[in-house]
C-alpha cells in the first residue's frame, strides 16, 4: 500500500506536467487555415496602418473563404475589406462589397454579419455626407432589431447626421441614447460624449460641452486613440475660451497642437514634432 502511495506521488507530477503540455488545437482544412492566417496578418497590417498590405491579405482571405463556400468567413472578410477600402478613400469599392452581402437575400449569410455590413455602409455614407445616409441608418436599425452589438453605434450615427444637419437638439438626444446603450463599449461611449459636447457647444451650453469633452478625453486616453484625444483637447480649449478661462484654454490648445503634430509625425521624418 505504501509503495502504491509513493508511486502515485511520483506519477502525479508527470501527469500534471503532461496536462500542461496540451495538444495542438484540431486542424482546419488547409484553405481555411490559410484564410485564418491571412486574416490575422491583415488585421496586424491594418492596425499598423499598412492599408495596402491589409487589402491584399483580406482579398486573399476572401478568395480562400469563397473557395470553401464558408459563408460566415466570406461575409466577415468582405466587411473587413470594405473597412480597409473606406480607409483608402475608395468608397465605391467598399460599397460594392457591402452591397454584395446586403443585396443578396438568397444566400444565408449570418444575420449579425448582415447587420455589421449595414452598419458599416451607414458609417461610410455618413462620413461621405451622402444624401441616403438616413436611409442606410434605418436599414441598419431594421436589421439590428431592438438591440444588437451596433445599437449604440447606430444612435451615434444619428447624432452625427443631426450635427451635420445642424439639428443640435436632436444630436444631444441621440448621443444621450447612444451613451445609454453603450454599456461597456467605451469607443461608442466616448463618441457619444464628443457628439453631445459638440451639440451642447453649438447650443451655447459651454459648461456642459466642457464636461462632455473632458469625459470623452478621459475615455479616449484610456483607449489611446490619438486623433480623438487631439479632437477632445481642441473642443475643451474652445469651450474654455467661451467660458472666459483663457489661460486654461491656451494650455488645452497647446496640448491639442502637440497631439496633432505628434499624429502627423511619421518615423523617419527629419523634423521632430
Amino acid at each position: 500500500m505504501t509503495f502504491l502511495k509513493h508511486a502515485a506521488l511520483l506519477i502525479l507530477p508527470l501527469v500534471l506536467l503532461s496536462a500542461c503540455g496540451s495538444a495542438r488545437p484540431p486542424r482546419l482544412p488547409l484553405a481555411l487555415e490559410q484564410a485564418a492566417t491571412a486574416d490575422r496578418q491583415a488585421k496586424r497590417a491594418f492596425r499598423d496602418g499598412d492599408l495596402a498590405v491589409a487589402r491584399n491579405l483580406f482579398e486573399q482571405s476572401l478568395r480562400l473563404q469563397q473557395s470553401q463556400d464558408n459563408l460566415p468567413g466570406v461575409a466577415t472578410a468582405a466587411v473587413n475589406l470594405a473597412v480597409v477600402y473606406h480607409g483608402m478613400k475608395n468608397d465605391d469599392m467598399a460599397m460594392r462589397l457591402l452591397d454584395g452581402i446586403l443585396a443578396d437575400k438568397l444566400t444565408p449569410y449570418p444575420a449579425e454579419l448582415r447587420t455589421a455590413a449595414a452598419f458599416r455602409k451607414a458609417v461610410i455614407m455618413v462620413d461621405g455626407g451622402n444624401k441616403e445616409a438616413a436611409a442606410a441608418i434605418e436599414a441598419a436599425t431594421l436589421l439590428c432589431g431592438k438591440s444588437c452589438e451596433f445599437t449604440a453605434g447606430i444612435h451615434n450615427l444619428r447624432a452625427r447626421l443631426a450635427l451635420s444637419q445642424k439639428d443640435y437638439a436632436a444630436a444631444v438626444n441621440f448621443s444621450r441614447d447612444a451613451a445609454d446603450a453603450a454599456g461597456g463599449n467605451k469607443e461608442e461611449l466616448a463618441n457619444a460624449r464628443r457628439y453631445s459636447a459638440a451639440a451642447e457647444a453649438a447650443l451655447g451650453q459651454h459648461g456642459l460641452a466642457l464636461e462632455q469633452y473632458l469625459a470623452a478625453l478621459e475615455l479616449d486616453k484610456h483607449m489611446g486613440i490619438g486623433p480623438r484625444i487631439a479632437s477632445d483637447l481642441d473642443g475643451a480649449a474652445r469651450a474654455l475660451t467661451q467660458l472666459g478661462r483663457k489661460d486654461e484654454a491656451a494650455s488645452y490648445a497647446r496640448r491639442a497642437a502637440a497631439a496633432h503634430d505628434a499624429i502627423r509625425f511619421k518615423p523617419g521624418d527629419t523634423t521632430a514634432p
Partner: protein, 308 residues
C-alpha cells in the same frame, strides 16, 4: 541498548532504501552518459588522415566530415605548417575507410543557406588503392555563394571580352570586316559597270561587235576574276566572324547553364527555409510554454465604431 532507538516501523531499513534509490539514480545518470558517448561515437575506432588547406577559414575542430550526406568522421585538430598553411587532421571511422581512395577529395560545403559548414568527401576513383591511415587527401575549395559568383564571373568575363573585341573589329575602319565590306562594295560597283558595258554592247552589237566586244569581255573577265579572288576571302572572314560569335554564345550559355541550377537551388532552399521558419514560429506559438506570452489575434470583424 541504542541511544536513539527508533520505534517507528516505517523507518526500518531506511538506509538500505535510500541507498538503493541513490544507486539507481547514479546508474541512470551513468547510463545517460554512456548512451550520449555511444551516440557521439566515443568508442568507435577511427583512422587519422589529413589535408592541407590554404586557410583555416570555414574549418573548425569538431566539424563533421560527411560522405554522401552521412557523417563518417570529424576534424580532430588544426595546425599551421611550415608553409604557413593549415594542416587539418581528420578522424574517419574505420568502418567507412574502405570507401575512400587515394585520390579522395575534401570540400567545405554549407548544408542549406544558413546551415553549418561541413567537409564533404568525394571518395575518389574506383581503380585507385584504398586510402591509408595517416595519408593526405586533397582539399578543393568549392560550393559557397562567393565561389559560384566567382565561377560565373570567370566564365562570363572572357565571353564579354570576346564580344567587345568583336564589336571593336566590326567598328574598326581598317579591320577585316570593314575591309571585306569595302572590297565587296568595289566588286559590286565593278559588276555594275560591267553590266552597263554589256548593255551598251548589246545595243550596238551589230556595228561594234568587232571593236568593242573584246575589251568588254576582258573587263568582264577581270571583274569575274576579282570576284573569284575576293569571294572566298569574304566567305572565310564571314565564317570566322560567325565562329567567334558562336564561341562567345556557347561560353555564355555554358556559364549560365552551370550556374543556373545552383542559383535555382539557392532560391528553392531560401523558400524552403522561410516556409520552415514559419512552421517553427507557428509551432512555438502553439507551445504551452510560449502560448500565454503570444497575444492572440481576435477572430472575426475588425473592431470599428461609428467614428471610424
Amino acid at each position: 541498548m541504542t541511544l536513539l532507538a527508533d520505534k517507528d516501523e516505517r523507518f526500518k531499513g531506511l538506509f538500505v532504501k535510500v541507498s538503493i534509490f541513490v544507486l539507481l539514480a547514479v546508474i541512470g545518470i551513468a547510463l545517460n552518459f554512456l548512451y550520449a558517448a555511444l551516440r557521439q561515437g566515443l568508442f568507435v575506432q577511427k583512422t587519422p588522415v589529413y589535408f592541407v588547406a590554404p586557410t583555416s577559414q570555414n574549418i573548425h575542430e569538431g566539424m563533421a566530415v560527411k560522405l554522401s550526406g552521412f557523417k563518417i568522421g570529424t576534424v580532430k585538430s588544426m595546425t599551421l605548417n611550415e608553409a604557413a598553411q593549415t594542416r587539418v587532421e581528420l578522424l574517419i571511422e574505420d568502418k567507412y575507410m574502405h570507401f575512400l581512395r587515394e585520390d579522395a577529395e575534401v570540400t567545405p560545403v554549407r548544408e542549406g543557406v544558413i546551415g553549418d559548414t561541413v567537409l564533404a568527401v568525394d571518395r575518389g576513383s574506383e581503380n585507385k588503392p584504398a586510402l591509408r591511415a595517416g595519408a593526405e587527401v586533397s582539399y578543393v575549395l568549392s560550393g559557397g555563394l562567393e565561389q559560384i559568383t566567382q565561377d560565373l564571373r570567370d566564365r562570363l568575363f572572357p565571353a564579354i571580352d570576346d564580344m567587345s573585341k568583336l564589336l571593336h573589329d566590326i567598328n574598326d575602319p581598317k579591320g577585316d570586316i570593314r575591309q571585306t565590306l569595302k572590297n565587296l562594295r568595289e566588286v559590286t560597283a565593278g559588276m555594275n559597270g560591267t553590266r552597263a558595258r554589256l548593255d551598251q554592247m548589246l545595243e550596238h552589237s551589230d556595228a561594234m561587235v568587232a571593236n568593242d566586244a573584246r575589251p568588254m569581255l576582258q573587263s568582264l573577265n577581270k571583274a569575274a576574276g576579282k570576284l573569284e579572288q575576293d569571294l572566298p576571302n569574304l566567305l572565310n572572314k564571314a565564317n570566322s566572324t560567325l565562329d567567334s560569335l558562336q564561341k562567345s554564345g556557347a561560353a555564355i550559355k555554358s556559364a549560365v547553364e552551370t550556374s543556373a541550377p545552383q542559383f535555382s537551388g539557392l532560391v528553392g532552399e531560401s523558400r524552403e527555409l522561410v516556409h520552415e521558419s514559419r512552421k517553427t514560429v507557428d509551432s512555438l506559438n502553439n507551445n504551452w510554454l510560449l502560448r500565454s506570452g503570444v497575444p492572440q489575434e481576435p477572430q472575426g470583424l475588425i473592431n470599428m465604431d461609428s467614428n471610424d
